[in-house]
């Protein structure tokens, strides 16, 4: 049976008729797929049928037509209207139906992203894209191509909090490495905005150590930010890569981020004036990389680092001595820094303003409270879940025919070709 798509009316009738049971919808999908070219070639005439369809019920048909309509270049005058209709569709469409053709759904979302960027109103896409991600995701562990777009509009609209909500899900299933790189990069920046430095570090770390066969700009930028966040959060930076880092990254990343490596070196000396002079001298480079704000945070974290070191050595210390040792100009300023750190829970101390003494205390946590036990309990169960996942993955990999064939080939090579001088690794 062939779908009669010669007229708008017959198409509408078919869609309306076949949007009921899941069997019908599958059938409709097949029909629409066959006539995709026709719809696309006459997109303009089919556009009118959108008004006759109910997006919440006839989602599949609506999606086909909408995708065809938005495929071509869109005049500026219609942009606003298009954004509105896509947003409305995303809001109400049926999850089951759109999952039949994820490509089309993603493509209209990408068009939406494109248009709001052109209109300079990223805020308008924040909520719809979040809904879209939730609808198209088979599970929260899947990374969709919409993730990076969503995080980008969040960043531009400064909606860090809503962007962060999606970062709380752990992502494991990745289709496109590029999506993953961008997801981690934008995600890391959102975490910086939310001052969740540990999470930001983790995301940047994922980019830097991701398997890659050639250098890419995302990794370079992520590495720069990784250095800076590491200095701010951990107050140190280790320039050695973990051994699982790809060799391309190990060889090249440092060359591309020279001033940042030097900044880290200067930081490790603990000398504030030297660090400030270095930042001053390289201000332009940092500004061009849009990292000047972070660099300034690095400088201020240096004071905190120096104060924190004192807590290891001293029980009591006068504010003046703190100022002297941490290279802070006045005792008053030192007091401000100490106060800030106490408030942030970074150090435990009391300030005696009468004689200007600071008394450093031990961590008051006794690991006896109910909350702590609960926290430990939840950590244990989380890690158990993770271990289980690891085992499953290991098992599935051990059963993967592709993997076995590769490993089998390698083992054979070991056994029989020990005397063969020519490496056969390359004739795969």
């Amino acid at each position: 049976m062939n779908l009669n798509v010669n007229s708008v009316d017959s198409l509408v009738a078919e869609i309306q008729g076949l949007s009921g049971s899941s069997q019908d919808v599958n059938h409709l999908n097949n029909l629409l797929k066959q006539s995709e070219d026709v719809i696309r070639s006459q997109a303009a005439s089919f556009a009118s049928c959108l008004t006759q369809l109910e997006p919440s019920i006839h989602s599949l048909g609506y999606l086909y037509v909408l995708e065809a309509c938005t495929a071509g270049p869109i005049p500026e005058a219609q942009a606003n209207e298009l954004v509105l209709s896509v947003v409305r569709f995303i809001d109400v469409c049926s999850v089951e139906q759109i999952r039949l053709v994820p490509d089309k759904f993603i493509s209209i979302c990408k068009r939406l992203h494109e248009q709001v960027m052109k209109l300079g109103a990223p805020m308008r896409a924040v909520a719809p894209l979040l809904t879209a991600i939730r609808k198209i995701q088979p599970s929260p562990e899947h990374l969709t191509p919409l993730h990076p777009d969503f995080l980008q509009v969040c960043l531009l609209a400064k909606c860090y909090k809503i962007g962060y909500s999606i970062l709380e899900d752990d992502v494991y299933e990745v289709d496109q490495p590029r999506d993953f790189f961008l997801y981690c990069y934008y995600g890391g920046m959102i975490c910086i905005g939310q001052k969740r430095f540990a999470k930001a570090l983790e995301l940047f770390h994922n980019v830097v150590t991701a398997p890659m066969s050639s250098m890419n700009a995302i990794a370079v930028e992520a590495y720069k930010k990784y250095i800076l966040v590491s200095l701010i959060h951990l107050r140190q930076f280790s320039a050695t890569f973990p051994k699982y880092t790809s060799s391309v990254a190990q060889r090249n990343l440092k060359n591309f981020s020279q001033p940042y490596i030097e900044l880290a070196n200067s930081y490790s000396t603990g000398n504030i004036s030297e660090l400030e002079a270095f930042v001053q001298a390289n201000q332009e480079k940092f500004e061009n990389g849009n990292n000047l704000g972070l660099v300034k945070q690095v400088v201020s974290s240096m004071y905190k680092r120096n104060i924190q070191r004192l807590t290891q050595t001293y029980l009591t210390l006068s504010l003046q001595d703190i100022a002297n040792t941490a290279q802070i100009s006045t005792a008053k300023e030192a007091e401000m820094h100490v106060l800030e750190m106490i408030e942030d829970g970074e150090i435990y101390a009391t300030i005696n303003q009468k004689d200007g003494m600071v008394r450093f205390l031990e961590d008051p946590e006794e690991y006896k409270t109910c909350e702590m036990i609960e926290h430990i309990d939840s950590s244990i169960s989380r890690i158990m879940k993770l271990s289980k996942k690891l085992t499953t993955m290991d098992e599935s990999m051990a059963c993967d025919p592709l993997y076995i064939s590769k490993v089998g080939r390698e083992r054979q090579r070991f056994d029989f070709d020990d005397f063969d001088g020519v490496p056969q690794k390359f004739n795969l």
Partner: protein
């Protein structure tokens, strides 16, 4: 703390003012000539050594002492010593350094130089002829002797590189273990003079391979040489072990390299800087062999005992007194500062170890320093995690810090959990990315 020995603290200031008028001190000086709190007695010092090292040590002192009369004294003795030998190159150097300041008797004696050079040329010719004759006759032993004579000749004339080459060349003609040992000792001697301590180590181990043919004196010599090599490489612990193992048979037998007094000083200081208390007791204080050496340098013996019995003030006093002279030692001068800091840190750590709280004022007293200075030193040691304590700078008290095991365990467990969590997630992700790449390649292939 014992404070009766504090009085000797000012002695450091008087190192350059000659304290010879004090009778008891000058008596002591005769008994132990090299190292004492007083100005170095160059004549007694030089008498401990023979050969080339005597000259180099004298020149070294002249370069470093910064005291004109002492410098001239050292140069005068070096001049006399060189005149006994045949090293015209060194002679010119010394004459230039003297620069006519010692009167006409110590000028550039060109007649002597010419005579020596002429004799050297003749001797060289003779040796060459001899060696060629031996080589045509292929008599192994004679060739070895020929090369050896060449080595001796070059060594006497100051061409150390050539001497080393010729000594090493004898190796192919060595027929007995004794010959090999002889070759090694020569190579070691020249290497030490050249400052090539890497060679020293390798030739010492080569010589030690012939265990059965080594007499006690040679063993002692080899141990000293190995100790020197370790000292140069800043491996103080190894150096200390070697010097401590040196047998008393050494006596004055190795005066072309090292004096027995040096063994005591080097060994003692390296041991103090690198050994812990138990090791110090077992290997230094209870070591009968080494005691013989220590008797030669009572200051070092005293300071080791003071250190062990926690009389740090007097120990540091002794060290302070010795410092100026140790800086004039050709082998030790580079390491004095480092050894001293290590010894001082050790003392600080040992001092604080048994106490729950220490009054900084008292401690500063014991270490002859100010409270502020002490605080800085302690701060560095605490940051390095060498002392587990915290400073109450308000009341100037140091409190030992006893780690709360339970708390630390909880902290570590949670930390490990977080790290494990993060690492496993990152690993799963990477695995998936690799798998994706895999799939992509596979599908392309199909």
């Amino acid at each position: 703390m014992d404070t009766e020995e504090e009085a000797s603290g000012q002695m450091t200031d008087e190192i350059y003012t000659n304290g010879g008028d004090d009778e008891s001190l000058s008596q002591q000086q005769q008994r132990r000539p090299i190292i004492s709190g007083e100005q170095l007695d160059i004549e007694a010092y030089a008498a401990l050594y023979t050969g080339r090292t005597k000259i180099s040590r004298l020149i070294f002192i002249a370069d470093k002492c910064g005291n004109v009369s002492m410098q001239l004294e050292a140069l005068r003795m070096a001049y006399d010593e060189i005149k006994k030998g045949e090293n015209t190159q060194l002679f010119r150097e010394v004459v230039q350094k003297i620069d006519g300041r010692l009167g006409p008797n110590y000028g550039a004696d060109s007649g002597w130089m010419d005579a020596v050079d002429r004799r050297a040329d003749q001797r060289k010719e003779k040796l060459e002829n001899e060696l060629n004759a031996y080589r045509t006759n292929l008599i192994k032993e004679s060739i070895r002797m020929g090369y050896n004579d060449f080595g001796d000749f070059y060594y006497a004339h100051g061409a150390l590189g050539d001497a080393f080459k010729n000594y090493v060349r004898t190796r192919d003609y060595c027929t007995t273990a004794k010959h090999i040992i002889h070759m090694c000792l020569n190579a070691i001697l020249v290497s030490i003079e050249m400052g090539q301590f890497a060679h020293v180590t390798s030739y010492v181990s080569k010589a030690e391979q012939n265990k059965n043919d080594l007499d006690p004196i040679t063993i002692a010599k080899l141990q000293c040489a190995a100790g020197l090599a370790h000292l140069e490489a800043k491996k103080y612990k190894h150096a200390a072990r070697k010097f401590l193992e040196t047998a008393p048979e050494l006596g004055n037998n190795y005066s072309e390299v090292i004096a027995a007094q040096d063994v005591a000083t080097y060994g003692g200081l390296c041991a103090l800087a690198s050994f812990d208390r138990a090791e110090l007791k077992a290997k230094v204080i209870d070591n009968i062999n080494f005691r013989n050496f220590l008797e030669l340098v009572p200051e070092v013996r005293e300071l080791i005992h003071d250190f062990y019995s926690s009389h740090y003030a007097s120990c540091l006093d002794y060290l302070g007194n010795l410092k100026a002279n140790l800086l004039l030692d050709i082998h030790l001068h580079d390491h004095v500062e480092m050894l001293y800091t290590q010894i001082r840190n050790k003392a600080l750590i040992q001092y604080t170890h048994p106490f729950v709280s220490v009054d900084l004022n008292m401690m500063a007293n014991a270490f002859k320093t100010t409270v502020a200075g002490l605080q800085k030193e302690l701060e560095a040691l605490i940051t390095d995690n060498q002392i587990q304590a915290r400073i109450d700078s308000h009341n100037k008290i140091l409190y030992a810090r006893h780690a709360d095991q339970r708390k630390a365990t909880f902290q570590r467990v949670l930390q490990t959990g977080v790290e494990f969590d993060r690492d496993v997630r990152a690993m799963l992700l990477r695995a998936n990315l690799i798998k994706h790449d895999f799939n992509l390649k596979a599908s392309r292939k199909i």
